[in-house]
Amino acid sequence: MSEPQVLLRSDALHQQVQRFVNASLQRPPAAHEFERLALEIAAFQAQYCAPVGRLFAAHGTRLAALALLPALPSDVFRLTRVAVHAPAADTRVFRTSGTTAAHSGLHPLHRLDTYRVASVAGGRLALLGRVQRATVVALLPPPADVQHSSLAAMCGFFMDAFDACPLPGEAAAGACSQSARRWLVSSQGIDVQRLREAVVIANQRSEPLLLLSTSLALLALLQQLGTERLPLPPGSVVMQTGGSKGRVHEVDPDALRTQLARALGIEPSRVISEYGMTELGSQMYEGHLWHGRNEPGLYFAPPWLRVTAVDPVSLQPCAAGQVGLARFVDLTNVDSALIVLSHDLIREEDGAIRLLGRQASSPLRGCSLLSEALLEGAAQ
């Protein structure tokens, strides 16, 4: 198949996935519908995405059942190009950040619209609940400054999809994400004044505020606010994402949630954590608004994403209740790897996913001390 034909095939699969996403908002999809589409995408990637093809060949994989297909380790995204198409056909290339890996991983996309459709659908379910509209701002740098950030792209989609009205000085609704007024992080820190203005506007509109942020930016916001209280409008939600792995100061998510609730005058349950990876087009969220389950650290996947725990050694599915590595089957990853294995440890709990941190690598390659021994020792 020539490159144009590959792209045509890709386009057809993207359309199927978008139809799947939209249909699953109306009714839960049957398992066989997911499986059929997933196998179709897997067959496409086995043929045209070299790393996936090699992985399948090494396992002697037959494309008969989704459960039998091997998962591509997320590290492969930083070791080689994972794409069915040539670089010339890239629309966007997202780059991993905030990890401790020595090199960034790249996720090249031929089309951005499936990422947009799926993330907006998932975000609407998890962050808006029954509300149709919200004033949306992000504690992130403007997308122009972080063109390779999948998170910034997603937040931009949320602004355009969920926010009906332009802020003062903005051209038009539907292009809210183009306005610098929505992006409240710069080299000077958090623009708290802009956040105050957004709160005033949301109150004038009688809309909730949707504040999108990383955990570290929220921590910075709290520091800048100090003792100031900045009550958000009723129904507002804070979406926090991203841990602080590899950073000097780890963020305690429970403490952050409590402090945010106090500072912003919202219930702790309205601080909703998102889980996403640059290597995935889909996200998971805590389920307070979505599933009515207010359990911090318990995440729900949308119907187009399946998450299972696999044993870190055998890579086979874990027994019920056991902790394993997260194995994602993400229908939106049409042009890269449908099935991705993460270093994140999870446990499946009654239809939801408990995130339990990251798999510790074996002591590093040589005369390494166990870090716990070092840190304990240092503390004494």
Binding site: P51, V52, R54, L55, A58, H59, P70, A71, L72, P73, D75, V76, R78, L79, T80, T100, A102, H103, G246, V248, P312, V313, S314, L315, L341, H343, Q359, A360, S361, S362, P363, L364, R365, G366, C367, S368, L369, L370, S371, A373, L374, L375, G377, A378, A379, Q380
Partner: protein, 345 residues
């Protein structure tokens, strides 16, 4: 006692542990089996061939000269290479007559036996309490060592040895000159010691050669792993190490070739030197265009560079001047002249 005398006393203690007829040597063989997971033969080779029991006078002088005198020395020991405790403690003894050693929780046996064999020479401590003027010798990941550095009081000196690994440079004529068996046996003998957990353990084999040579090398290495495993059977890996092997294997499946025999595994990739094999008798053959340039690129992370003969010796030394350079088969037997990993010294 002078620094040299203290170090010599420790070497004497190590000699007792290496001696299978000494009661302490017999205890070492018994007890290390459970704490290291190594096979009895693996422990025997480590004790009799890797533990430095007969350093030359020049080595002793160099080791003593490699440290600055310190009020008190603290040593944080690693579990990965049990014999490394000897050199680590020797360095502290060369610097101070007051040495406190915190053994690894996973492998506390060797340090305790050394202490028994040399009563009063150093203290085994569960605590780490360095004071200004003290020196701490520690080995670990860069992030962990950075954390330790931040936690130390001003005036405490940290001798930190971070992440690192060994590489082997192989040229086509090496196989012709040495023969495949001696060549691959020498490489594999370095790789199997301590089940590849050492900071000097070879992980990457850099070859500037076409597919047929790299493929033959991979196959011959697999056969060598099987041969060497007859003499030094595989030890047990920890679960986190087994998980690393699984993860690595899947990555290599996506990038190149991965072959597994009973004695060990060999991966073959083109160019890609970002991914390192895990412990557990795994070697990665990397086909590169310029082996010296690749060594230079890897130099900040390299502890050891092995080669055959002296053809590339000067160029490799220039490419990685702070690594140890040696012939094949000598990677795990560095001179007793200072830290095993000289980058931090």
């Amino acid at each position: 006692m002078s620094p040299r005398e203290r170090v010599l006393q420790l070497v004497g203690a190590a000699r007792r542990l290496a001696d299978p007829a000494d009661p302490l040597g017999q205890r070492a063989r018994r007890e290390l089996a459970s704490t290291t997971g190594l096979s009895p033969q693996g422990i025997e080779v480590a004790l009799t061939q890797c533990l430095e029991t007969s350093p030359s006078e020049a080595e002793l002088q160099a080791l003593c000269a490699s440290v600055s005198l310190s009020e008190r020395g603290w040593v944080l020991l690693s579990a990965n290479v049990f014999t490394a405790a000897h050199r680590a403690i020797a360095l502290a003894l060369a610097a101070s007559d007051d040495v406190r050693v915190r053994p690894s929780r996973r492998e506390p046996v060797f340090a305790r036996l050394l202490a028994e064999a040399a009563p009063g020479l150093f203290a085994v401590s569960e605590q780490l309490e360095p004071q200004p003027g003290d020196t701490v010798w520690a080995y670990g990941s860069d992030a962990t060592l950075a954390g330790l550095q931040r936690s130390l009081a001003p005036g405490v000196t940290l001798k930190a040895h971070g992440e690192g690994f060994g590489v082997v440079v192989v040229q086509e004529q090496d196989a012709a000159e040495m023969g495949w068996w001696p060549l691959c046996d020498a490489i594999v003998r370095d790789a199997v010691l301590f089940e590849g957990r050492g900071c000097l353990s070879p992980r990457l084999l850099l070859v500037n050669a076409a597919d047929p040579f790299a493929e033959r090398l991979s196959q011959e290495l697999l056969l060598a792993f099987d041969r060497v495993a007859q003499a030094i059977p595989r030890g047990a890996l920890q679960r986190d190490e087994l998980a690393d092997v699984s993860w690595y294997r899947e990555c290599i499946f996506s990038l190149g070739e991965y072959h597994c025999h009973a004695g060990g595994s060999v991966a073959r990739v083109r160019g890609n030197v970002q991914l390192l094999p895990p412990p557990g008798r795994v070697l990665q053959v990397c086909q590169v265009e310029q082996e010296v340039n690749t060594v230079n690129m890897l130099a900040p992370r390299l502890t050891s560079v092995a080669r055959v003969g002296d053809r590339l010796a000067a160029a490799l030394l220039r490419a990685a001047p702070r690594a140890r350079h040696c012939q094949l088969g000598q990677m795990q037997r560095p001179a007793f002249d200072g830290p095993a990993d000289p980058r931090g010294s």
